[in-house]
């Protein structure tokens, strides 16, 4: 739940929200044009938009902005002026006209689309800007003579849409083009299927006794002409896949299908050319059409979600380097060398292992190591890559190159090297199809022997009919449509699976491993509990003071004291890394570390404790705690009955007692785990024959997620980075975990039910073909009838089983 939603829950009147971003306004003097703003950032954005007469932005959706309460650094995008970087980011150029695509994570509403497509009015060098809302991307065409890439990026930042340019954007030069060929194949197969059916009507209704045989030729050759693109283009993927599996000496589901298509087509061509019949081209195009639709539904990709991210998409592209003569320069992270001096600004990510040289570092490693509390580092200490600086600017000296740093080493582990484990071929469907194929060949063989004795002239006819009518397309249809439907149902709960084989793997799992920070705790919201005695008036004073600060701990305190009255704060002071102080109603209030507040080293200062004193009287401290997800206890109780559970945390064991309360005593809990420890833990489980789901959220879980049978990344914000995994699920639906796993287990039941139905149709079809009476009309009725009944059954069953998910 985001902060703004939370505030709306409390029904604070509309008056108190920022005109730009809709966040609660603490300080009511930020007024222009009688509009309130929560911070200067939001106000500036409003001013720019207002100056350019683009205020329609605020009319399309109310409070369309994203909170801008952080500083933008001038020249942050200067590294984009580098010729080599421009070259790699720009995907099209013609003389001075460049096309570039930026990822804008802040994009979230219709107003965003509107304002971003008005970019040519904000920067005259921009010729056209096109938004892809689903992907949160903007494609900009600009004249490099009139504007610059860095200027455009800055302009976007100015209006509140800072482009996210990561190392990944330049390391791979492949433009991710969506493959449209399947849509084309479906369209063409559908077109030919429909038309062939139409031209076959005269034959279906026994109008075949044409007065002129010329008609028959005409229709037949028309059909043949229409079947060519289906056979050679639309069905090509079945042949390619069958060939591949043949080379690997493995019978996959496409082998019998390719065989059936091939036999149907050759027999039809033979009948038409020899003028002995009309062939089964209608049935052939029909099955190709339906099977392609099934495949399309099953493999539909989510444009907005990327499953294969590594550290390069987390690291920023640009970094500030300080020359020997003290000049600051924006360079690409890739050009960083050992010994370079770099400057990291507030809220920036440290790109390489380095030694702290200047400034006070308080680094948030929660994403990298799972430690919940920011760590402070003093000068001379090593700062590892991946941490986020939260305390003003610092200067560092690089000691390892980006690709060699402690964090990125994880990606050298073998778990990341063998990519073969993402193979769809191990599905039980392929096994079933193998038996189906053997059974089919036996029937054809027996029928052939019988007819060889009775009437040898029809033997070949019977064999081909058997292979045509008993095409295992029904198997494929059951599987693809079921998977497609299930994926859709799971999507509705923001449970995005990478491919359909993941569903099957989830069903097999017997062990579940959780990461702690950000996975079973909520990433953003922290709870502050006060230890000591304090009265309501003092709470007001504290609230007034912490509302002034942007420090995460202050925010957490302000958040838990939300409803208190605010007073005016005089002489407000923020001592980085120590605390804040101010005079409120004549009282001197100090909040911060033990040392800062009490001037006494007696109180051991843990990062999660914030001390309070008023007029030098020490009152007590706030303990900032992570909040566990909704209904976590409930979920765990349900899961304990069926699975072995464990918790792996990169954090210290402060929370062990709470976790034991939640999980019970029997489950293993390990703390202070490094990313490699986590990976090895999963490996050990697998060696003991367990099939493991790993739940994680950060880079420190990346190895474990990759190694596990199913890696599930839990994310509170789908736009945020999530490490490479098989499933990305929304934290808000975490409490449905048990139901989600149960639903995945139903996949087999549904597919087997559909098989049952398809076998019924197959028996009818086989009966006709074995007795040598398979007329094209019968094939043309059986084929769509079986396909449609399978589709109906699978939709009904998936919807029925999905009921539990939506309660």
């Amino acid at each position: 739940m985001s902060k703004s939603e939370f505030i709306l829950d409390k029904k604070i009147s509309k008056k108190d929200v920022c005109f730009h971003c809709g966040d609660f306004v603490f300080n009511t003097d930020n007024l222009i044009d009688e509009k309130q703003f929560c911070c200067n950032g939001c106000k500036t954005v409003y001013e720019i938009i207002n100056q350019n007469n683009l205020c329609t932005y605020y009319e399309i959706d109310k409070t369309p902005g994203v909170n801008q309460n952080h500083e933008h650094r001038k020249g942050k995008f200067d590294f984009l002026n580098d010729e080599l970087i421009t070259e790699k980011l720009v995907h099209f150029r013609q003389e001075s006209i460049f096309h570039v695509t930026f990822y804008l994570p802040q994009m979230h509403c219709n107003s965003c689309i509107w304002i971003l497509e008005k970019l040519p009015q904000l920067d005259l060098g921009v010729l056209k800007s096109t938004v892809n809302f689903i992907k949160k991307e903007i494609t900009i065409q600009f004249d490099n003579g009139k504007t610059k890439l860095s200027k455009i990026a800055e302009k976007l930042t100015d209006i509140g849409y800072e482009p996210h340019i990561s190392l990944n954007d330049v390391s791979k030069k492949s433009l991710k083009k969506i493959d449209n060929s399947r849509i084309l194949k479906i369209g063409i197969a559908g077109f030919c299927f429909g038309n062939i059916m139409m031209f076959s009507f005269p034959d279906y209704f026994s109008l075949g006794k044409f007065d002129e045989p010329a008609f028959k030729y005409f229709f037949n050759y028309f059909n043949l002409f229409l079947a060519l693109p289906v056979f050679f283009y639309s069905a090509s993927e079945f042949f390619i896949s069958a060939l591949k599996s043949y080379k690997q000496k493995f019978l996959n589901i496409d082998t019998p299908i390719a065989l059936a298509i091939l036999i149907t087509f050759s027999r039809s061509v033979f009948e038409i050319i020899s003028n002995t019949g009309v062939g089964y081209l209608d049935s052939m195009s029909g099955i190709v059409f339906f099977m392609l639709i099934g495949r399309y539904l099953q493999n539909r990709t989510y444009q907005q979600i990327s499953f294969d991210r590594d550290f390069t998409s987390y690291f920023p592209l640009g970094v500030t380097r300080i020359d020997k003569d003290g000049k600051e320069q924006q360079i690409s992270v890739k050009d960083l060398k050992i010994g370079d001096r770099i400057k990291i600004f507030n809220e920036e990510i440290i790109p390489a292992d380095a030694i702290l040289f200047l400034g006070k570092a308080i680094i948030d490693y929660s994403f990298v190591t799972g430690e919940a509390t920011p760590v402070s580092k003093s000068i001379g200490e090593i700062v590892y890559a991946g941490g986020r600086q939260t305390n003003g600017a610092i200067e560092l000296e690089v000691i390892k190159e980006v690709s060699q740093s402690y964090l990125t080493q994880l990606w050298n582990n073998e778990a990341f090297k063998n990519k073969t484990n993402v193979n769809n071929d191990d599905s039980f469907i392929h096994n079933v199809s193998k038996y189906f194929t053997y059974a089919l060949f036996s029937i054809a063989f027996i029928a052939a022997i019988y007819w060889q004795f009775v009437n040898p002239s029809v033997t070949l006819n019977v064999i081909t009919s058997v292979l045509i009518v008993a095409c295992p397309c029904a198997l494929l249809l059951s599987a693809t449509f079921t998977n497609g439907n299930m994926i859709q149902q799971l999507n509705n709960l923001k449970f995005y699976v990478k491919s359909s084989s993941v569903i099957e793997r989830i069903a097999k799992v017997d062990t579940i491993v959780f990461d702690k920070t950000g996975t079973i705790t909520v990433q953003q919201i922290k709870n502050a509990l006060f230890f000591g005695s304090i009265n309501e008036y003092q709470k007001e004073l504290i609230f007034s003071l912490v509302s002034q600060s942007n420090h995460p701990l202050s925010k957490a305190i302000a958040f838990s004291l939300n409803n208190y009255k605010k007073h005016f704060v005089r002489d407000y002071l923020e001592n980085l890394g120590e605390g804040i102080s101010g005079i409120i109603e004549g009282k001197f209030v100090r909040i911060g570390s033990a040392k800062f507040v009490t001037n006494n080293k007696k109180y051991l200062s843990l990062g999660t404790q914030v001390y309070v004193s008023i007029d030098d009287n020490y009152l007590g401290y706030f303990e900032i705690k992570n909040v566990y997800r909704n209904n976590l206890k409930n979920v765990i109780e349900k899961l304990t009955k069926k699975f072995k559970l464990s918790v792996l945390s990169g954090d210290n064991n402060n929370e062990e007692r709470n976790l034991k309360n939640l999980f019970g005593e029997n489950h293993s809990m390990l703390f202070n785990q490094t990313p490699t420890d986590k990976l090895n833990y999963i490996k050990d489980l697998q060696k003991n024959g367990n099939s493991v789901i790993m739940f994680g959220d950060g880079l420190n879980d990346a190895g474990a997620l990759k190694q596990s049978d199913v890696g599930i990344a839990v994310s509170d914000n789908m736009n945020n980075f999530s490490p490479s995994c098989d499933v990305i699920m929304a934290g808000e639906h975490f409490h449905k975990l048990n139901e989600l796993i149960n639903f995945c287990k139903k996949q087999k039941t549904i597919i087997y039910s559909c098989f049952g139905i398809s076998i019924l149709y197959n028996i009818i079809g086989l009966y006709f073909s074995v007795i040598g009476e398979l007329k094209p009309v019968i094939a043309a009725i059986l084929m769509p009838a079986s396909s449609i009944s399978i589709i109906l059954v699978t939709i009904t069953l998936t919807t029925f089983f999905a009921k539990d998910l939506h309660d």
Binding site: V131, I134, I183, N195, F215, F218
Partner: protein
């Protein structure tokens, strides 16, 4: 009867025209983003209004 032949071939050619339109729509990227255009369409009214306002005010200046 030959009129049937003509009608059928004509119908097929018309159908091929639609197939061509479909192929064009796929190639031109209409299946790549199926959300944004639906929103963008709603903005155009407002843009045109602004443009006419602008031309009106321009005329007045002249």
């Amino acid at each position: 009867m030959s009129v049937i032949l003509i009608l059928i071939s004509t119908s097929l050619f018309i159908a091929l025209g639609f197939l061509g339109a479909f192929i064009w729509s796929v190639k031109s990227g209409q299946y790549e983003d199926d959300y944004t255009p639906s929103v963008r369409m709603l903005f155009e009214n407002d843009v045109k209004q602004k443009e006419t306002e602008n031309t009106l005010s321009d005329n007045k200046i002249k």
